[in-house]
Symmetry: C2
Subunit: 218 residues, 2 copies
Amino acid sequence: MEILSAKKILAANDKLARDNRRRLDEQRVFMVNLIGSPGAGKTTLLERLLPEMGCAGSLRVVQGDMATREDADRIEAVGVKALQINTENGCHLAAHMLPPAFEMLDLPGADFLFVENVGNLICPAEFHLGEHLRAIVLSVPEGDDKVRKYPPTFATADALVVTKTDLAASNDFDFERVASDLKRLSPRAKVFKVCAKRGEGIRELAEWLKERRESAFA
Amino acid sequence: MEILSAKKILAANDKLARDNRRRLDEQRVFMVNLIGSPGAGKTTLLERLLPEMGCAGSLRVVQGDMATREDADRIEAVGVKALQINTENGCHLAAHMLPPAFEMLDLPGADFLFVENVGNLICPAEFHLGEHLRAIVLSVPEGDDKVRKYPPTFATADALVVTKTDLAASNDFDFERVASDLKRLSPRAKVFKVCAKRGEGIRELAEWLKERRESAFA
């Protein structure tokens, strides 16, 4: 009998991720996978970003959490259709969890699907969901040493969104250090500085995501 | 052929954790496992806590990180013997990693061994190391909803150390909510409020840990 190794589990996940991607491409739905620590500000970012992304009817959100449906409730409060996935003991979302969500969210007609992964800077990175774009969310209070301390995650970034920038001075946060650590790991990644509370940097991120969707489906 | 299930891997880890514990008990070394998100302030807490714990020669620290030896360097800078474990792709420390660390840290004669786990609020919780006491570190900027959103982790807490309390007002952080969520999950857990920057709450935590060691080895 064969052993089901971690490598095979990841390969099986990759296959399902490719299936998800095919389906999204057919429906011209651009999927963004948001990964970050607990409390990095992923949900708050979405609350501010979604109203900049276009009409609410063209947007969908999947919320991953171990427990509660509080995050999906917060998204629905800004008028966007959201689905909560509760992983219970699970530390990440995986590709097989998405197809039921696609059904429940009534995907055709949507332009964007944002997936907020379970709060964890490590495990979600290995599990591709079929996303077109992966954004790692890092908050200033976590510290400017995190890119170099979690290299496998940041190496997969298409974008780095640094949040809570209003706290940069009091945290001695060195943006240059973060950018140069990231450049080594993922030269393609674009860096955004965001303060959701003050609405700073949100529009730039929204414009870039729309451009990315345009070129993906050109 | 048998399948090596996640449950069996955890059972094997538990057995090794019991071996670690036996060895620590024989040597009267009290082991504390610190678990928390990236940037929760675990290393900064140790930098302030260790000088309150007694003479530096009676203390040892194991630092878990995916990469770099920056945290162990920070601990050595306060005069305490520290060992860095780099897990590379690993999202948690496991019991089998400790015995080599015990050797390298010259354990006999120490009173306390602090283990700072890999920054991850989920996966380290399942892997017991043989610790006498587990402290979950939660920083105020992460938000007061985290206990209820990561219940499997907080259910294992002997202590909850809330850090960066100087940011409580600007984050609208509700300590009562955190305490009541925790009481449901781990009624035995004691809550400490700490601001390492200002040195607040450090002495109380140090005194409590010393008491806990005294009763463990009475």
